[in-house]
Structure formats: structure tokens, C-alpha cells
């Protein structure tokens, strides 16, 4: 359910009516940004059925990736820890 994907705002088409153009992998479409506080060119937003549902938080995204990379890479350390516990 609820297919939503991140796209980049490339143009504010109609500020008054909250219409912006977003791009996903070289494909563009006008969407409604009326549910965001403000939408700026360069923002990444989560698009669902022609509406922006939330702004993608770059810092949070980095944080998630950092955790993922940490989880994916300190395996050796973890093994040592496990051996020590045994």
C-alpha cells in the first residue's frame, strides 16, 4: 500500500496554488505541495498520488546510513565480543 518515492523539486510552478515540478530519475511531474510548510527548489520530498507528503530530512537520512554502515561493517568486532562472552 501507499507507494511513495523521493523526488527532487526542480521548479516552483505556481506558488499560490502550491504546484511544484519534481524529478525522479529523469522523469518529471507537477505535484501539489500544499501539505508542506514551504517547498523550495532543491528539496527532496516524498511523493504519493501527486502530493508531497513530507520533506526528506537529509541529516536523518545520513544518520540512518551511518548506522547501517556501522551495522554492516563492525562484524569482526562483534565476533570478538561474542567470543569473549563465551
Amino acid at each position: 500500500m501507499c507507494l511513495a518515492i523521493p523526488g527532487k523539486i526542480v521548479e516552483i510552478v505556481d506558488h499560490e496554488n502550491s504546484i511544484a515540478k519534481v524529478e525522479v530519475g529523469g522523469v518529471r511531474r507537477n505535484i501539489n505541495t500544499g501539505m508542506l510548510d514551504d517547498a523550495r527548489v532543491g528539496d527532496y520530498v516524498l511523493i504519493h498520488v501527486g502530493f508531497a507528503m513530507s520533506r526528506i530530512d537529509e541529516k536523518q537520512a545520513q544518520e540512518t546510513l551511518r548506522i547501517l554502515e556501522e551495522l554492516g561493517s563492525y562484524m569482526e568486532e562483534f565476533e570478538q565480543f561474542k567470543t569473549a562472552m563465551e
Binding site: M1, N32, M35, G50, F51, Q60, T64
Partner: protein, 375 residues
């Protein structure tokens, strides 16, 4: 593509999976509530990466799967009326009612059109002033605000030939109904990430507080799903039950205030709404408020409004609750196939039965069940 590709890296997947395996040998059942997660799990083959003791249970969060037969019949009856343009998301075209689907109605002469957005439906209405355009509104809290925004725009622009056949539902009452079910044996949940962009994290608190089950609200890329499983398992191992947010890049703890405002402006809860496979659930459906009654297709058209019982042979309820595996249902693969679905779980590719049927035939889970059954 930014914010997509980073979360599909296979090099991290294997270590993450190993780490999940190293945490516990206990058999755990974790439900992904949302059909989008079910789709991701099968599309990327995530079950194959998970250790055998972690079993994913595929929940009721697919709006197309849970729409009851009677409501599909109602939609078709509206679509077949003269001078109606009936618009719908592609997902709903093939969903069978008690006798036919919208695709069949189209073949029989109804003007059924697929749209990407409810705004497209409104545009069609404006382009065809001498006909009435109906939008089949489907989906959870993610989709409902978009319908609400469209109704508000129709109201503002004074469009009179547009209405909404509302089947929006809310996930929390369904979650509660599942948790109250005596035969439920779940250890934790992956929370629906896109619903949460709207409602935030607070509505799930009761799952941890009253039922002692951990939740990780999850994104939809495969690494998101794996990380969320890791977070839930970690909570279980450490004896915690909290609402954690794996999808921080899109979900803020308070949700989307503006989206919630338009949602409450336009919709109010129904006393009861029927879910296919799960039965009637209190306050789980939305309808248009009296203020917007002129956009309510249910009031504009006389619809049969009949309750059609789920087929008896079908065991979708047990499958949605994780009590039974799809292939343990008598009609799975016999009378019930993706070509001729009987139960809700076979209707959409997000349903558990269709997912196993289409993608999961070689899954480890099925194999293990085979070994147990001595096949």
C-alpha cells in the same frame, strides 16, 4: 536515484542479516503491517536473507486486499450508471466483487479510467462538465489527505459534477483488532512508514504500552526493512517494547500537521467498516463530513449497499493474523489463484497469498514448512 539506491546496497545486507541471526536463536514472528513492506520483502527476496528462526507475517495493510466484496459491487454499480466517468487507481481495476470487477464493467461499456492522482479525477470532471466524475477513494491515512485536498479544491472551485466514493480506512483500529485476537502469536511489528509520515509515532504507543510488543516504523527499501527487523529483534532480546523510528528521513514523530488538519476537516470516522477477511471493525473507516456531503457519491447515487459474506472456503483471516500459511488454505492454488482470486490475500501483489504464489515459491519459509510436514 538519491534516497533510493543507498538503501538497496547488497554488501550491507548480508552483514546486517548475519547480525540479526547472531542475536537470537529463539523463534520469532514479526508482522509487517503494510502491504508495501510485503511487496518489498518478496521483490528483493528479503526472506531468503533472514535466519530461519525469524518469520515474517504479512499483515492486513493492503487497502485493495481488504476492501469488502459488497463495496466493490457498489463501485461497479456506480460505474455502470449513464453519464458517469468512474476514476480509480490502477490497483483497484482487477479487484473482484461478488460477480465482476471494474475491468469487466469497463468491457461492458462503463467509462472506467485509471488515474495517478485524485487531482487527475477532478481535472477529468472539469473537462467533462456534462457528465459526472466519481473517484474511487481507497487507502490508509497516507492517501486520505490527498483525497481531502482534492475535495477542498473542488469545493473552492465550485465543481459540482465531481464526487468521491470513499473507502478510506485507518490502520490503528485494525492493528488493535489483531492484537485483541486470541489466536494471535506475534512478537513484534514493522510499522507502516508512509502512514506514519501523516500520523506520526504516537498512535502506536498502545502497542508497546498495553500489549508489550515492540514496533519499528520502517522505510520501504530493502535495507530499511532489514534494519527495522534488526531493531525489533534487538528490542525483544533486550526485553524492551518501544516505538522506534527507522524511517526518520521521512517520518517526524508528530507526523504531518497540515495533512492531519485537512483529513479531519473533510472526513469523520464511520461507526463500523467491514474489512475483507477480518470482519467489521469499529471506527476503522472514514466518510465525508456533512459539510461536504455534496461530494459524497454514496449520497448522490443509489447503491445496492449489500453486505456480501466472504467465501466460506477462504481462510484469509487466519492468514492475515499469521495463524496459517497461505499454502495451508484449502483453496490456495486450487480454486484461488491470481487469475481467479477468491480471498483478499490473492487479489493484489501486496497480499500474502499472491506474494507467495507469484514470487515466493522457492522461499526458505515454505521449504522449512515442507520439511516439517515431511514432504
Amino acid at each position: 536515484m538519491k534516497f533510493i539506491d543507498e538503501y538497496r546496497r547488497s554488501d550491507l545486507a548480508h552483514t546486517l542479516a548475519e547480525k540479526i541471526a547472531a542475536m537470537t536463536d529463539k523463534r520469532l514472528k514479526i508482522m509487517e503491517v503494510c502491504g508495501g513492506h510485503t511487496h518489498a520483502i518478496f521483490k528483493y527476496g528479503i526472506e531468503d536473507l533472514l535466519p530461519l528462526n525469524i518469520e515474517m507475517i504479512h499483515g492486513p495493510g493492503c487497502p485493495v486486499c481488504v476492501i469488502p466484496l459488497g463495496r466493490v459491487d457498489d463501485a461497479i454499480s456506480i460505474a455502470l450508471q449513464t453519464d458517469v466517468i468512474f476514476t480509480t487507481f490502477g490497483d483497484a481495476m482487477r479487484v473482484p466483487g461478488s460477480k465482476t470487477s471494474l475491468l469487466d464493467a469497463k468491457a461492458a461499456g462503463a467509462d472506467v479510467r485509471m488515474v495517478y492522482s485524485p487531482l487527475d479525477a477532478l481535472r477529468i470532471a472539469k473537462k467533462n462538465p456534462d457528465r459526472h466524475t466519481v473517484f474511487l477513494a481507497l487507502g490508509f491515512e497516507t492517501t486520505a489527505p490527498s483525497t481531502a485536498m482534492t475535495v477542498l479544491q473542488a469545493d473552492k472551485e465550485g465543481v459540482e459534477n465531481f464526487s468521491v466514493f470513499c473507502n478510506h480506512i485507518t490502520i490503528v483500529p485494525a492493528l488493535k483488532a489483531m492484537l485483541d485476537s486470541p489466536d494471535l502469536k506475534l512478537d513484534g511489528f514493522l510499522g507502516p512508514g508512509h502512514v506514519s509520515t501523516v500520523i506520526g509515532l504516537r498512535p502506536y504507543q498502545f502497542v508497546a504500552r498495553d500489549y508489550g510488543k515492540p514496533v519499528a516504523v520502517s522505510g520501504f527499501e530493502p535495507l530499511d526493512v532489514l534494519q527495522s527487523v534488526y531493531m525489533v529483534v534487538k528490542q525483544i532480546v533486550e526485553g524492551r517494547a518501544e516505538i522506534e523510528n527507522q524511517y526518520g528521513r521521512a517520518v517526524s514523530p508528530d507526523g504531518n500537521r497540515k495533512a492531519l488538519e485537512v483529513l479531519f476537516e473533510v472526513f469523520e470516522p464511520r461507526d463500523f467498516f467491514e474489512w475483507r477477511g477480518l470482519g467489521s471493525i469499529a471506527h476503522s473507516g472514514m466518510k465525508l463530513r456533512g459539510k461536504y456531503a455534496r461530494f459524497d457519491a454514496e449520497l448522490k447515487f443509489s447503491i445496492p449497499g449489500l453486505r456480501v459474506a466472504d467465501p466460506k472456503a477462504c481462510q484469509c483471516g487466519e492468514i492475515l493474523k499469521g495463524v496459517k500459511k497461505p499454502w495451508e488454505c484449502k483453496v490456495f492454488g486450487t480454486a484461488c489463484t491470481p487469475e481467479t482470486p477468491i480471498g483478499s490475500c490473492m487479489v493484489s501483489s501486496e497480499g500474502a497469498c499472491a506474494a507467495y504464489y507469484n514470487f515466493g515459491r522457492l522461499s526458505k519459509v515454505a521449504e522449512r514448512h515442507g520439511a516439517q510436514a515431511g514432504v
